[in-house]
């Protein structure tokens, strides 16, 4: 049996057995919904309904109801799109990259991080969809035979690469997530008492019975999917960054964008995972499974990716001067001293300075500090996309068309609305799905459980 060094902190606290893990994870699903959950989902779904209302109004009226003008043609909408896609990067990173590196701590967080990924990507996909104005013709992005004079979509365009990247990312993440869920649904199915619940979880578990050969295949599928999902994670946000980087707009036209966007995505994704899990572990009493060590590990990822983002900000600032291109250097001078400088400095403070606080062990291991900083990081990352998009285009080559962007209440409503839809989906997930990969957790109990580690040290 595999053993771990005694000085390594245990990943599962308390005197847990296999049975306890099942009880702790499935227990909250069987019991009645807690009042706190009811309040939260009511608020979230009300906000979601408001957002859907804003979207319907937008679709019925046209995208003129946004604050866009002829100079600023992309703004909140694309900011929100990139922000949500970025958040959607942590889940697959946790489940794929950390699986390849055999990181056992991922098992406590991968399930909910993947759920977050899937919901975030759905939110992201809303934005380019409604930005089309006529969403009912959104199937035009697919290369379908048509009656418009053999007109095909343009495979040279990063916007089309995005269609393929986002849809592949979404569907592959969904499959990866569901394959992991099947054995856990089987566990719930075999515990449920009421016929209806038994029937539903029976359907969801696809008749899983835990045979030895099936487990061999399960592990092989997880490994191969992790192997192909890893480059996929990196490719998706690289392609999103190419939407900007392949244009000729000063401030967008830079080769640093792909790595800079990918690390920013992981940075914001982990921050969102922290925000959600810190609440979930408390609400569902999972403190023994997701504890300070897990939070610390995630904070270390946040320091690393946050520092890469910081270096990228400074690099693009330096290069804008060093390139000698006056349009390029103006774009950056305008960023930090122009009419949008407040958002630039907001981004710098939230993304460059605040994650550096995690170098202090006390802060890195403090749940409250982590919770506050995770929200700060997500605000910062939203402003990063806003700064990149709006400050680069609001003053273009022709000063007579310089303008500014002011969001309307529909801009704001659609964004807040997606937050509502996201939280509604996530709360439903937390109520009815196994929020921890409980059967995978059992495989690390003997090597990383507190009670078993104590036994080994004594022996």
């Amino acid at each position: 049996m595999q053993q771990e060094a005694a000085i390594r902190e245990p990943l599962i606290l308390g005197n847990k057995s296999y049975k306890d893990i099942t009880d702790d994870v499935v227990g909250p699903i069987e019991g009645p919904a807690p009042i706190g959950w009811k309040i939260m989902i009511t608020i979230a779904s009300l906000v979601a309904v408001y957002g859907v209302g804003c979207i319907l109004y937008l679709l019925g009226t046209g995208i003129g109801v946004w604050g866009l003008n002829k100079t600023v043609g992309w703004s909140w909408d694309i900011t929100n799109f990139v922000w949500w896609v970025g958040i959607g990067h942590a889940g697959t990173l946790i489940s794929a990259v950390l699986l390849l590196f055999r990181q056992k701590w991922r098992m406590a967080i991968n399930r909910s991080a993947e759920a977050m990924t899937i919901f975030a990507v759905i939110m992201a996909a809303i934005f380019p969809g409604i930005h089309m104005g006529r969403i009912w013709v959104s199937y035009w992005v697919l290369p379908l035979p048509n009656q418009f004079g053999s007109l095909w979509v343009n495979f040279n365009s990063p916007l089309l690469w995005d269609v393929f990247a986002i849809s592949t990312y979404f569907s592959v993440s969904l499959v990866f997530w569901y394959i992991g869920l099947i054995p856990d649904f089987a566990t719930i199915r075999d515990r449920m008492k009421t016929p209806l619940a038994k029937k539903i979880y029976g359907l969801l578990s696809f008749g899983w019975s835990g045979r030895a050969k099936h487990w061999t295949r399960f592990e092989e599928v997880s490994l191969v999917l992790a192997g192909i999902a890893t480059p996929l994670v990196f490719s998706v946000h690289s392609i999103v960054s190419m939407d900007f980087a392949t244009s000729v707009i000063p401030g967008w036209h830079t080769t640093i964008f792909p790595p800079y966007f990918v690390s920013g995505a992981v940075f914001s994704g982990f921050a969102m995972v922290q925000t959600l899990l810190l609440i979930m572990r408390k609400g569902m009493k999972l403190e023994n499974y997701i504890h300070v060590k897990h939070v610390e590990y995630m904070n270390i990822v946040i320091i690393v990716t946050g520092s890469i983002v910081g270096v990228a900000y400074l690099t693009e600032l330096f290069i804008s001067w060093y390139s000698g291109v006056e349009y390029e250097s103006y774009a950056f001078i305008n960023r930090f001293s122009g009419p949008y400088s407040w958002s630039y400095w907001m981004m710098m403070t939230c993304n460059v300075i605040s994650p550096q606080l995690f170098w202090f062990k006390k802060i890195r291991r403090s749940l409250l500090a982590t919770f506050v900083l995770s929200i700060v990081v997500n605000i910062g990352m939203w402003f990063e996309r806003y700064v990149i998009i709006v400050t680069s285009i609001h003053r273009d080559y022709d000063p007579s068309s310089w303008g500014e962007f002011h969001p309307t209440h529909i801009d704001i409503g659609v964004f807040i609305g997606t937050l509502g839809i996201f939280f509604t989906l996530f709360l439903s997930f937390a109520r009815f799905f196994p929020v921890l990969a409980l059967n995978e957790l059992k495989t690390i109990l003997k090597s990383s459980g507190e009670n078993f580690k104590k036994l080994h040290t004594k022996a």
Partner: protein
């Protein structure tokens, strides 16, 4: 009459030890049901390595081919477009711009092809009935299935060999294949 023995253990390592012990005595263990993968059980009970990864590679190759073929047809053969002066008259010249979609489509085909093959080979599909002998095997119990037909021992010999292991429960039923 052929019998099926369901031997229940409360620990994965105990089951593994018991399986080794029985296999050494010439018993064939038909199946093991467990709540999570028991590492190292496969060689003991003779489960062969899965070929799913090879299938995934073939699906990926299919995706690469289809993507390139499709883009060659749309962008080069059927309706070449001059977009920003980019070369659009042969696949090889236009290839750099086709790499992202080729990659994404290969991953798409590999992942979905592999997942569908996995579900079909397992026979785990929506609406399939569960076939684990005891509901506790998805929680904290580990069950070994031994069929007397596949073994040269008599039912009594098998039973006494099984009872020599650290089992928790034993159920013996008539075997219906």
């Amino acid at each position: 009459m052929s019998k099926v023995f369901h031997v229940m253990y409360d620990d994965d390592d105990t089951l593994k030890g018991a399986a080794s012990q029985l296999v050494a005595q010439g018993v064939r263990v038909k199946e093991v049901f467990s709540p999570f993968p028991i590492h190292g059980i496969d060689p003991i009970i003779g489960v062969k390595r899965t070929r799913l990864a090879i299938a995934a590679f073939m699906y990926a190759t299919m995706g690469t081919t289809l993507a390139l073929l499709g883009m060659w047809y749309f962008m080069i053969q059927d309706w070449p477009m001059n977009i920003g002066g980019k070369p659009s008259f042969s696949l090889i010249e236009n290839l750099p711009a086709f790499i992202p979609v080729t990659f994404e489509f290969s991953v798409l085909c590999a992942a979905h092809g592999m997942a569908i093959t996995y579900l079909l080979r397992n026979g785990t599909l929506p609406g399939m009935p569960a076939s684990n002998p005891d509901p506790r095997t998805t929680d904290n119990m580990f069950v070994m299935e031994i069929v007397s037909d596949e073994n040269s021992m008599t039912n009594e010999e098998l039973e006494s060999a099984i009872k020599n292991t650290e089992l928790v429960e034993l159920s013996i039923k008539d075997y219906e294949s």
